[in-house]
Amino acid sequence: MFNLKLHHSDKYANVIIRVIAWKIDMLVLNLPFLFVIYVMLSQPNITDGVTNFFYLVAYVMLPLLFVQFLYHFYCISTWGKTLGKAIVGLEVADDKGKLLTRTQAFMRENVTKGVSAVLLGVGFWAVAFNRNHQAWHDEFVGSYVYKKENRWLLGLLAVFGLIAVYAVVSVWLFQMAVTSPLVGEIKTYLPF
């Protein structure tokens, strides 16, 4: 566990390719929040802004929290992969290559990843030093991340593509904010 020797395996996914898959998932899952910002900025005044904010909380933000909580667990137990892992060609399964059960997937994604995250994420970085490239949360459920296809370049392109989308949309939203009547009205109440 605390052996700091780096390992290489052709069968199991290493830390870099897993970070790429994670980044894709994170960027995709947070895309709807750009929509939330867009809706808020397109409000004509504070009154409508407040009303529609609660619509967004009810119909977008809180449901999104549920989706984010269940996304990894459901995808891993059903297909053995999330969108990010599918793009880079990874699959999560047990030592015999079988898909994880619902309980195993829940424990991996929603419980033991919390343990991996403590101490500055040392449990995630354990992937680099483990012979089978297992993170702590993999050890907890006996799961392995198999390298089914080597598509790290596609994954990298997907990450850069998504970052580009975020950048373009952010610039567009910033321009929108400059001319937004809602932001203008809020400014009139600010002391500076």
Binding site: T47, G49, F140, Y189
Partner: protein, 379 residues
């Protein structure tokens, strides 16, 4: 490694008597030789608020004291300055009069009128600011509030259930890990974790049901006792001392039972996980085990609390000293700038992971001491 593990096992075999120093030696060997247990210790320090020390509650006497102090401070606070603003705001000011009262004549009593006028402006401004927000809230239809309420309810219930699951699973896994390490079995996190999952419902039962039963019973007895005492006092005057004696006895009984319950719950976790018993069976056996061993358990709980406190302070106090000393030095030299906080902040940030790791190791150590105590009591 193998030799030292054998010595740990030997300790276990010859441990048929109660000795806290023996428990500490064995626990330290076990904690140091099985570093994989530290992961489980980290899980417990992350997910379980108490436990391993004779209780599972995160709300202790110091919290209650803090709560009382906060309440007192709130009561002592002066009235909000806005309350004055509101009075003046309502009154308005026209030609030196407020509702026909010569305000200039009142100036020496209530302060200059300018303050009141500023307050009035502030009040109007505040109302102007709030109006669109209030209107926005009024426009939200009822069904949206209903959906938000339902979703929040789901979040709250989900968090409570999830929190209970996490707390009991992590404690169950650590206890099972310690039990395996103590008999020199290899620690397989997957096997330990899946076994702990199967024990979660029993452990939740142990955490909740006996405590709830005790609270209900204590309330019923308290209410019954109060009625009986009122009846006795009504029958004959001068029997007030009976109430005092009965009150003291009741309080002593309550605390004795509460402490016994806390230790029974603690040992029930070990019965449930190590002996593979159901929640009810584990609690019944643990309750019987505590009988006659309560002072031993209290001594171990105190020793663990002292060791934990000393270790945590030994790490945290120097860091606090460095931070406080740096700020004070710059303040006294008149060289205090916001940059002073940079080294202080970095020191604190570096301390957080160190403290987390130490907490995890301490959890393994304290749970190990309870494991050996449990084994010694069972013999």
């Amino acid at each position: 490694m193998v030799a030292s593990k054998t010595s740990s096992s030997d300790h276990h075999k010859k441990n048929s008597h109660w000795s806290i120093s023996d428990f500490y030696n064995q626990s330290w060997d076990l904690t140091w030789q099985n570093k994989k247990l530290w992961i489980l210790g980290l899980a417990v320090s992350l997910f379980a608020s108490g436990g391993g020390g004779g209780g599972n509650s995160s709300f202790d006497a110091s919290d209650f004291q803090q709560f009382q102090e906060n309440q007192q401070q709130e009561q002592q606070l002066p009235e909000s300055p806005y309350s004055d603003f509101e009075v003046v705001e309502e009154a308005g000011a026209h030609n030196g009069e407020i509702h026909g009262v010569d305000v200039e004549a009142q100036e020496d009593i209530r302060g200059p009128v300018g303050v009141g006028l500023h307050a009035m402006e502030f009040g109007q401004k505040r109302e102007e600011m709030l109006t669109p927000f209030v209107n926005g809230l009024k426009n939200v239809p009822l069904h949206v509030w209903a959906i938000i309420g339902l979703e929040f309810l789901m979040v709250v219930v989900g968090l409570i259930v999830f929190g209970l699951f996490l707390g009991t699973w992590s404690q169950g896994a650590l206890i099972q890990g310690i039990a395996q390490a103590a008999v020199d079995k290899k620690i397989e996190l997957a096997a330990i974790s899946s076994y702990a999952v199967t024990k979660v419902t029993s452990l939740i039962w142990i955490s909740l049901i006996p405590l709830l039963k005790f609270i209900v019973l204590a309330l019923l007895i308290g209410a019954g006792g109060a009625i009986a005492l009122a009846f006795v006092n009504a029958l004959a005057d001068g029997l007030g001392f009976i109430s005092v004696i009965a009150g003291i006895v009741a309080v002593c009984w309550f605390f004795y039972k509460l402490i016994r319950l806390a230790f029974a719950i603690n040992y029930a976790f070990y019965y449930c996980v190590e002996e593979n018993l159901s929640g009810q069976e584990a609690y019944d056996q643990a309750y019987a085990l505590v009988d006659g061993n309560i002072w031993k358990s209290i001594r171990l709980a105190l020793a663990n609390a002292i060791v934990t406190g000393i270790v945590v302070f030994a790490v945290f106090l120097p860091v606090l000293g460095v931070g406080f000393g740096t700020v004070m030095r710059d303040l006294m030299n008149d060289s205090f700038t916001p940059m002073t906080f940079v080294p202080v902040g970095i020191t604190f940030l570096l301390t957080i992971p160190a403290m987390t790791l130490i907490q995890g190791i301490l959890k393994v150590f304290t749970y190990s001491t309870w494991h050996y105590a449990f084994r010694a009591l069972k013999k």
